[in-house]
Symmetry: C2
Subunit: 388 residues, 2 copies
């Protein structure tokens, strides 16, 4: 095991009665809040009215910022910062999924920053202060409710970048699995793939690759995501499926499964950001296609064979064709979730590959990983991803 | 899954260089501290001098309280409170294992309490305020470095009781596995059994018994404790073994593996406290004997068969004699750790059983669990525990 630091200051309130704790918890954060939410879904499902009732009991004054879209835009963040400053809010309440939470996070630290906040995303500077954040989660996947990361799309540059700061951990997250009963099968699948991919990247692209406790924790999370995602897309109101998916997604990126793995990379995410940032496709969909390509490309590598063995209960010694069997079982999972597995299937043409390679390479340059991920390596991956 | 709240505010600094962070971290907690440690071991191993050097860099003034023994005594706590008040300390630094940390925790909340602090342990009142606590861990097992529990023995009443308060989570815990290289094989085994038993009790005595993510996390922790404890007692300086044991022990009782399991009981611990509290035997030794008795008594219950299946990779369907096989494999583990498995082996005579039953029953009464654990049930367990 490698040395690590771990500090997860977020308070989790989980379950069917989670949001009943709102009147008790929110006043601890201040008297005035910016309430951030997405497009229309919380109004359609009735959650908006339900929350209004709870919020009215808090004596906290709310300013609303609705309309956050998935693949959240910098322009919305800027609008939020202006509103937050105008009303001098004490904290931010995010009600939604990853896009809403990530928007809230960047508003929270942008509130105190006088310069161009895109500097945070280009690693030119780091937040020194942030407003406290509370979260009511409505879709599982990104894990943003229990981590320090925010991912935002630059409207004009059409690039997706991430920001990481310990200041961005929410103070409190309300996780009620019943709020995800109305998430469509497609978005349930995207969320599951996203959460799975976080653990998969830690598993595959880590410095410390030996057997250890943390590796087994990763396997448990990946297995449970596979199992319960299949149930949830068939039975949207199956509480156990929704609850296990929600908790697995939160644990996937909160720091616990990377504790002790040493240096790691998130290359599949880096490359995916060129897809969801460029074509505005769902992040989870891009990840499904690229993870499948990654697994096909590296199926004979020891770490991928270990992944196959542990996640699919295969044996490296006994199952001689473990690599092909593993690829097949992984594809089966994506098929069961009714996800496309290639770029061709979602209409991205082969002629775009050059442009995609250039954009992905730029991200690796930003992280100083251009030697590890030269253009040729990225191109090979896209070539596999294009084909069925 | 059942509803839960989870909030672990402790910052973990883990690894070979952990204590190098002391000069950076401790001054955040104040200018004057009570430094609590055990009998002679930290002086023998050189850790005392090493820490003194680090502490001298902090500009924090230290008052020392050494001599905490295992099965830590209330009298030592009272001595610590007096010392802490006299010097008006800002925080407490605990350097040791569970006994030292638990002593520090009770001093921390006793510092502000004017009444008889045994009231906390008799659930007559709860702490409202506590000094911050920092921990340097020197032995794995109790998990006290990452939880809100303190267990203390009343000198005169010879009873062991626990106190639980969110105020007792350490602010920061320095976990350096190399500090446990000098822990004897016996105490390594006791620590491993203690950590294992925490997860075992959650697994066996929980309200929500269905398959779920949290159950699989429990299994991963139990399997890793079994695996690495066997390595550590043979190779005391095996870093991977010590690191995995240390991290598994911390995770075992920090709240993560009980998230979602609903109501639970810790009957094996409750009963064990009559042994270590009464005869001053190591807690882990008492747990080994009682866990083995528990497993023998309930070997045909569904939850124990599930435990056997998951932890020993057996199959309830295929392995017809799974109950006996499971008992055997569990005993094998204890034998490999060179632990006695019966009360007879450690010289506790059958005539003591009546007294032990009465004492254990008192504890269940305290928790309002006397109907669930009537004397007859406790007696049956002791009868199995006595015999080889």
């Amino acid at each position: 095991m490698k040395d690590f630091e771990l500090h997860i200051p977020t308070k989790i309130i989980f379950g069917k009665k989670a949001i009943k704790q709102i009147p008790k918890e929110l006043p601890k954060l201040g008297k005035k809040a910016l309430w951030v939410y997405g497009k229309s879904s919380i109004k359609k499902t009735g959650l908006y009215e339900k929350l209004k009732a709870f919020l009215s009991k808090t004596n906290v004054e709310f300013v609303e910022l609705g309309g956050v879209k998935s693949n959240p835009l910098l322009s919305k963040v800027l609008e939020g910062i202006e509103l937050a400053r105008k009303h001098k809010v004490d904290f931010i309440l995010a009600v939604g999924g990853g896009s809403v939470i990530d928007t809230a996070k960047t508003i929270a630290c942008g509130y105190y920053y006088k310069g161009d906040i895109w500097n945070f995303f280009e690693k030119k500077t780091y937040p020194e202060k942030a407003l406290p954040i509370a979260v009511v989660l409505t879709i599982s996947g990104t894990g943003s409710e229990l981590n320090e990361v925010s991912v935002i799309v630059h409207d004009i540059k059409k690039v997706k970048r991430s920001l990481r700061s310990p200041l961005l951990f929410p103070k409190v997250s309300f996780l009620d699995p019943t709020l995800t009963f109305t998430v469509s099968p497609e978005y349930t699948a995207y969320g599951a793939v996203d959460a799975f991919s976080h653990v998969f990247e830690f598993f595959v692209n880590r410095e410390y690759k030996k057997d250890c406790l943390v590796e087994d924790l990763m396997v448990s999370i990946m297995k449970n995501i596979m199992k319960w995602s299949k149930v949830a897309i068939k039975e949207p109101t199956n509480y156990e499926a929704r609850a296990n998916l929600m908790w697995a997604s939160s644990l996937a990126l909160c720091g616990i499964v990377k504790a002790g793995i040493g240096a790691y990379r998130f290359p599949i995410h880096a490359i995916e950001h060129t897809l969801s940032g460029g074509y505005d496709i769902p992040h989870g969909l891009g990840l499904a296609i690229l993870m499948r390509a990654w697994i096909k490309k590296y199926k004979d590598y020891n770490i991928i064979r270990k992944f196959f063995a542990k996640v699919f209960d295969l044996s490296i010694k006994r199952d001689r064709n473990i690599s092909d069997k593993g690829v097949e079982l992984f594809e089966n999972w994506l098929r069961e979730l009714k996800l496309p597995v290639s770029l061709a299937e979602i209409g991205i043409p082969e002629r775009d590959i050059d442009m995609l390679v250039d954009k992905a390479f730029e991200i690796f340059e930003l992280y100083g990983a251009e030697k590890e991920y030269p253009k040729e390596r990225i191109r090979e991956l896209f070539k596999i991803a294009i084909a069925l």
